[in-house]
């Protein structure tokens, strides 16, 4: 059954802006993006929204609903009371372009800084082989749809613009982890992750994991394992001593630091 929903939508650009009130008729089963589209179609033709698949798979419609980073297309209206005012703002970590659209190019710049996998030589028959359990380990990280909600909610850059040059963010820490766990990759990314990517800036308060629409355990399965790998390399005297007397971890053989 339809009802009238009251929405507060942030309108504006870098020069200024604010929350505007809209009342729009919505139906059972709809999501916040549906309501915004109806506002756009009936009341505010110039409302800027970035969206694409409407299925939670493209990662385009990231915004903040009642202050919480969410995908607009995956936020059901039935999660709210019919009388509740739903406030929608753009992501608050990135520069706003207009209305609900932000400039997320920070993330693409960070992606460029990450060295791609450098696989070793092929087997004699020209193929490369990985065991299934090794393949499965990285699959969780490949679910990432690059919605950048984790980047947006991470206080390291959300509350400190000055950290952006030195901090890659959770989305790229899962990429570092995926590659560092890759049995065929010949790069050792531990130093890079700690120094250039700013892994040490993360204080594991787990907000990235809380907002991930794909349910990736970013902190437990990527960031903390990467921190532990950095400890292996930099802060563990036992590992250092072992390497001096020839007890090195053979699992890392064939890797070189990037």
């Amino acid at each position: 059954m339809g009802y009238d929903l009251t929405m507060r939508i942030w309108r504006g650009d870098q020069e200024g802006g604010g929350l505007g009130d809209y009342t729009v008729e919505v139906s059972e089963g709809e999501v916040v993006l549906d309501a915004l589209h109806r506002v756009q179609a009936t009341q505010a033709g110039d409302l800027a929204i970035r969206w694409n698949c409407k299925a939670g798979k493209c990662g385009s419609c990231s915004a903040e609903v009642n202050g919480r980073p969410r995908l607009l297309c995956m936020t059901r209206l039935s999660d709210f009371e019919e009388s509740e005012i739903i406030t929608v703002t753009p992501l608050r970590t990135f520069p706003v372009i207009r209305d609900l659209v932000t400039d997320v190019s920070y993330n693409y710049e960070k992606a460029k800084e990450l060295p791609y996998a450098d696989l070793g030589p092929r087997d004699a028959d020209g193929k490369r082989r990985m065991a299934q359990i090794d393949v499965e380990r990285g699959q969780e990280f490949r679910k990432c749809i690059e919605c950048f909600l984790c980047q947006n909610t991470c206080h390291v850059v959300r509350d400190h613009e000055d950290n952006k040059p030195a901090f890659a963010g959770p989305r790229f820490f899962i990429r570092y982890a995926e590659l560092d766990m890759h049995p065929l990759d010949t790069h050792d990314r531990r130093a890079l992750a700690q120094d250039a990517a700013g892994l040490g800036m993360c204080n594991i308060t787990k907000c990235c994991t809380e907002v991930c629409p794909e349910g990736i355990k970013i902190t437990d399965n990527a960031i903390i394992p990467m921190k532990e790998r950095v400890v292996d390399r930099k802060f563990d005297p036992l590992v250092w001593l072992g390497s001096k007397i020839g007890l090195r971890n053979r699992d890392d053989e064939g890797r070189s630091e990037v």
């Binding site: 942030w10 504006g12 870098q14 802006g17 604010g18 929350l19 903040e64 009642n66 202050g67 919480r68 980073p69 406030t87 703002t89 753009p90 608050r92 970590t93 520069p95 706003v96 932000t102 990985m130 065991a131 299934q132 359990i133 090794d134 380990r137 909610t153 206080h155 390291v156 959300r158 509350d159 400190h160 613009e161 000055d162 950290n163 560092d180 766990m181 049995p183 040490g200 800036m201 993360c202 204080n203 594991i204 308060t205 787990k206 907000c207 809380e210 907002v211 902190t219 437990d220 903390i224 394992p225 921190k227 532990e228 790998r229 950095v230 400890v231 802060f235 971890n249 699992d251 890392d252």
Partner: protein, 264 residues
């Protein structure tokens, strides 16, 4: 409240003056954490500095185990190598479990949020002007977590020994059990669940590998620890309560406030 010009109220961000637009009770979890942790710290400090009422045969308080200082008769199962230590014997050993919990990945999340507001909750602006995370001293020392984990395993073994000794009566005859034994049993199970679900443990048993396929035993161990690890926070809380409860029970026995409930 606007925070800093470099944060969510910065010049390029959408102009929204509020530090958060969240309407749920986001402050409840950090507040509860603050109250409980602060209460534990006060209780543990008082008990640790007290230096008495930590042994009521056959029970030894986990805060004082192993009792290596100038301890009361019957409490030192591992000798008294630090007999000359002038302060409470608890201070000699508590530093290890304390360090283990202070550097624990779960506790870090909890106290960074609840005590340091960094951040107080997700998408709630923090009050600090600058932030360097765990890149500098003293927070760089968080990387020593695995060292405290090694120590925590030893402490766990000692507490397990204490629990075995609790299957005696006041006269040290075997084959008995009281409410204190039961509490110590529950406590040691929770302590081990917390210790073995640690992220550093998960890394050490198999997480550091790149080839699970070449290390089937370590892979199997890793899957077990991973399963426990998912509940690390829960075990952190439960074991915090259980260790305090055992100590309180021993204190009440030692001061004669209550009598031990003997089962057999």
């Amino acid at each position: 409240m606007a925070t800093t010009d470099t944060g969510v109220t910065g010049p390029t961000r959408a102009r929204i003056p509020q530090r958060t637009l969240r309407q749920d009770r986001w402050w409840l979890a950090p507040l509860a954490t603050f109250v409980v942790f602060a209460a534990f710290v006060v209780y543990a400090s008082v008990r640790a500095f007290m230096g008495r009422d930590y042994y009521a045969s056959p029970y030894l308080s986990p805060f004082y185990s192993p009792c290596l200082g100038d301890c009361v008769e019957g409490a030192s199962d591992f000798g008294q190598p630090f007999r000359a230590f002038p302060f409470s014997a608890a201070l000699l050993v508590l530093v290890f479990p304390l360090g283990f919990r202070m550097t624990c990945y779960y506790y870090r999340k909890a106290y960074y949020r609840a005590f340091w507001f960094s951040p107080p909750a997700c998408a709630v602006a923090e009050p600090h002007k600058t932030y360097s995370g765990e890149t500098r001293f003293p927070l760089l020392l968080q990387n020593a977590h695995r060292w405290f984990w090694y120590a925590a395993v030893l402490v766990g073994l000692v507490l397990t020994f204490d629990t075995v000794l609790a299957f005696r009566n006041e006269d040290k005859e075997w084959g008995h059990m009281g409410l204190g034994t039961l509490l110590m049993l529950v406590n040691i199970v929770l302590i081990w669940l917390y210790t073995l679900s640690c992220h550093s443990c998960r890394h050490a048993v198999g997480g550091r590998l790149r080839h699970f396929s070449k290390h089937p035993v370590r892979y199997r161990l890793w899957t077990w620890v991973s399963r426990l690890n998912a509940h690390h926070a829960r075990y952190a809380w439960y074991s915090l309560f259980s260790v305090a409860l055992v100590d309180l029970y021993v204190y009440l026995l030692a001061t004669g406030t209550i009598e031990d409930v003997r089962f057999f």
